[in-house]
């Protein structure tokens, strides 16, 4: 399970306890389901302090962990496919192309 | 601070169990602690003199001591106190009671009512174990046999 690949920039993510929704640790020390709210640590030292801070604020989330991101046009994008899927959702239509008539 | 909670037993023993190695050198001691890798057969004839056997759960998900408990109770006829020590969680108590444990060590916070509640959490069991509860299959068989006997009595009468 390649959660995390090496990278200089890191964010912290977790799943929300009550419903499992993917959340990100924010600048204000809170959790948000919006990836754009994620606070980015831009060097390993900052990442090392970010994770404990996030864990300290994790009563309503499950098992926070660091995710490597790269900056594409200034915006963070997770390095691993797994984390891109967590941010972007399923990579295929849930029903077959011609199946909407059955749904 | 570790508290010992009683299951079906009135008062847990105040003896402190010897580690198995020490006990094997002093078979007169009445309490032993068995690591979960040891076979209960090692207790040999000394079993008859034991008043307390402590079985250990190094992690709650290491379930070897359940089998040790059933062997001690069901196979070897041990009737003294059987105590669960280590990582003993409230949600395991129903299983432990069924395997023949009758006292439980628990650090902070202690179990409180949990031990008593565990005994009645499930009104139905599906398999014979060391607690003499009657499995559902046997209750069904008895009910059918009873109904047939009643029917036979009616037709005779």
């Amino acid at each position: 399970m390649a959660k995390n690949l090496r990278g200089t920039h890191q964010i912290v993510t977790a799943n929300r306890l009550s419903d499992g929704v993917v959340v990100f640790f924010t600048r204000s020390g809170d959790w948000s389901p919006d990836f754009n709210d994620a606070v980015v640590a831009d060097d390993p030292a900052a990442a090392e302090t970010l994770l404990p801070r996030a864990r300290g604020a994790a009563t309503a989330t499950v098992e926070p962990y660091l995710v490597a991101v790269e900056l594409v046009d200034g915006a963070p994008v997770p390095v691993s496919m797994r984390e891109r899927i967590r941010v972007g959702g399923l990579t295929f239509p849930v029903l077959a192309a011609g199946a909407s008539r059955y749904a | 601070m570790v508290t010992v909670h009683s299951g079906s037993r009135a008062v847990p023993s105040a003896l402190s169990p010897l580690p198995l190695d020490a006990w094997l050198l002093d078979l007169t001691a009445a309490a032993v602690s068995l690591p979960n890798t040891a076979s209960p057969d090692l207790l040999g004839d000394g079993l008859a003199r034991l008043e307390l056997i402590a079985l250990h759960f190094p992690k709650f998900n290491d379930g070897r001591a359940y089998s040790q408990a059933r062997l001690l109770r069901g196979r070897m006829g041990y009737r003294g106190e059987l105590r669960a020590t280590g990582d003993v969680l409230r949600d395991q108590l129903p299983f432990m009671l069924r395997c023949g444990f009758d006292s439980f060590e628990k650090a902070d916070p202690p179990f409180g009512e949990a031990v008593r509640a565990a005994a009645t959490l499930f009104s139905v069991v599906y398999q014979p174990a060391e607690d003499n509860r009657v499995p559902a299959a046997e209750l069904r068989r008895l009910a059918t046999a009873g109904a047939m006997a009643a029917a036979a009595a009616v037709s005779l009468g």
């Binding site: 390649a2 496919m81 | 068989r141």
Partner: protein, 558 residues
């Protein structure tokens, strides 16, 4: 509930499931209030079938021996609608998974399941899992006895077993009553195969230590013939040996197959026998009247006598090529003349294998009421089965299934792809499974070509846990992750059936998705060009060996 032709819960079963739901409701509340840590809670939610996956919680519902009433299927549809995003995923182990569950809703969902005599107990965790059986049980002509009788007896015995709820690792039991073995009993922790001894008595061949995953192994026969009454004593003996001596120091070496492998089948048999002799004849003995009482509940529906041949079916078969193809692939002969077993293939062109929407589930439930005595089965190939269909109903059923997208003539063919959820859903995955399955299904979509290719089992897993059973696919595909790139490793020659069980052999280095599809196309072409009459893909592979396939796939690399 309406009539059913399999085990019906009584007051004992209902009480236990209700108490279990109440217990879990309390545990969820303690977790949400912070009384339980995630570490403490995780095993509790897992033994209630609740996983935390990539996007949400996933609830795995047990469908014991794959048998459902139409009412139960409707209840599952209702849960999909009310608590999920309107669909569910049928797995290779006769379970249904809901992918978008909220922890807060889980106790209510379990209650909704309990209302139709269903549960999610022991569908995860290191305990005895949902017991599986042949999906054609009771309807196929080739079985010694209905294996579901025994799966139900084992289900009860294993439910909340006090000694075996914290085993070294998960434990899977499968039962078959047929020599054709549609339950893959040689690749389970314990496989039970019903057969008769020379005197005609029914008993079990007990196969121990098979399994897929990281170290695939074919199980060893510990007993050729175990009398029926001793089944539970023997199972308890085996599980006790495993609980005491199975490895707990290494997650990857903790399954019973490793124990059997390390100490050898001989010693394993000796250990189990010693324990068995002490347990035999105790309260675990199964008296005939207990077996018979359960067996009676599996009595087949009263099927009206019908002609063995339907003129309507024959006329349409001659006239309509699509219908003829569907009959050839998705309709299986029945034990009872005038009836058929129909596979509703959840393998619509380009659809995620095994997925069904709530609307589709409801519709299949209606079809089961109309054409199949109200009963539906779930197969290991992630299809639904209608087991009691009169031949004269086939035409109407075909049209209705077609309208649902479930009549593609793929059963057992290359379009009948089995795939686990993979990286789109699963927290353990290395690579995606579903998009590859979809592309393969589209590539080989042509029904005439599929028919020409014939039987070919393609199975895809997104990681070495092998939920997609890739080891026993004629073509197995395993997703791997190489430095962040998804690649797929192909294996050939796997086979799940008892007589010929085989673990597939790895063909060569892993390939990209694109090249995997090309490789399969090339290997299929090779098969078509070299097969001799009557050979399936896997037979040709066995005859030719791996070299020509390697050559095809890797030989002419530009």
């Amino acid at each position: 509930m309406p009539d059913s032709y399999f085990y019906r819960y009584d007051a004992h079963d209902r009480a236990l499931v209700a108490e279990r739901v109440a217990q879990f409701r309390d545990q969820v509340a303690r977790r949400l209030s912070g009384d339980l840590t995630e570490e403490q809670f995780k095993p509790l939610r897992l033994t209630n079938g609740l996983y935390l996956q990539l996007h949400a919680y996933m609830l795995r519902v047990a469908i014991p021996y794959g048998t459902l009433t139409s009412g139960q299927l409707r209840a599952l549809a209702g849960i999909a609608r009310r608590f999920d995003r309107g669909y569910g995923h049928f797995t290779t182990r006769q379970n249904l998974q809901f992918n978008w569950i909220r922890l807060e809703d889980a106790p209510d969902i379990l209650e909704a399941l309990a209302a139709v005599d269903m549960h999610a107990m022991q569908t995860s965790g290191n305990c005895i899992r949902n017991v599986t059986a042949d999906h054609f049980a009771g309807a196929a002509g080739d079985e010694v006895e209905d294996p579901r009788i025994w799966a139900e007896i084992v289900r009860q015995w294993s439910t909340l077993h006090p000694e075996f709820s914290f085993l070294p690792r998960k434990f899977k039991i499968a039962v078959t009553g047929s020599p054709r073995d549609r339950a893959a009993v040689r690749v389970h922790d314990i496989g039970l195969r019903l057969h008769r001894d020379p005197a005609g008595a029914v008993g079990f061949e007990v196969i121990v230590g098979g399994g897929l995953g990281r170290t695939p192994m074919i199980g060893k026969t510990l007993r050729d013939f175990l009398p029926r009454e001793d089944l539970l004593a023997y199972l308890e003996a085996t599980l006790r040996v495993y609980n005491r001596y199975g490895r707990r120091d290494n997650l990857y070496k903790a399954r019973i197959k490793i124990l059997v492998h390390e100490i050898g089948a001989e010693r394993m048999r000796g250990e189990v026998d010693a324990e068995f002799h002490a347990l035999r004849g105790t309260a675990l003995r199964l008296p005939d009247e207990v077996i018979d009482a359960i067996a009676r509940q599996f009595a087949a529906p009263a099927l009206a006598a019908r002609p063995a041949r339907s003129e309507d079916v024959e006329r349409l078969r001659a006239r309509d090529r699509a219908f003829a193809r569907w009959l050839a692939a998705n309709v299986t002969p029945h034990r009872v003349p005038g009836y058929a077993i129909v596979t509703a293939a959840l393998k619509q062109l380009g659809a995620p294998p095994g997925d069904a929407s709530a609307t589709q589930m409801d519709a299949v439930a209606d079809l089961a009421d109309r054409h199949s005595s109200g009963e539906v089965r779930v197969s290991h190939e992630q299809n639904l089965i209608l087991p009691w269909v009169p031949l004269d109903d086939l035409q109407a059923l075909w049209r209705a299934l077609d309208a649902l997208g479930f009549a593609d003539p793929v059963a057992g063919r290359i379009g009948d792809i089995v795939a686990c959820p993979g990286l789109d859903y699963c927290a353990l995955a290395n690579a995606r499974s579903i998009p590859l399955a979809q592309r393969l299904s589209l590539r080989f979509g042509d029904a005439a070509r599929q028919q020409e290719i014939g039987e070919l089992k393609v199975r895809i897993s997104g990681c070495i846990n092998a939920c997609g059973h890739h080891h026993v696919g004629h073509i197995g595909i395993l997703g791997v992750d190489r430095n962040g790139t998804e690649l797929y490793q192909i294996s050939l020659g796997g086979d799940p059936e008892a007589g010929s069980t085989a673990i597939g052999e790895i063909l060569g280095p892993a390939l990209t998705e694109e090249r995997t599809i090309e490789a399969i196309e090339a290997m299929v072409d090779l098969y078509l060009a070299t097969r001799v009459a009557g050979e399936r893909f896997v037979d040709t592979y066995r005859r030719l060996g791996a070299d020509p396939y390697k050559e095809k796939v890797y030989g002419h690399r530009a």
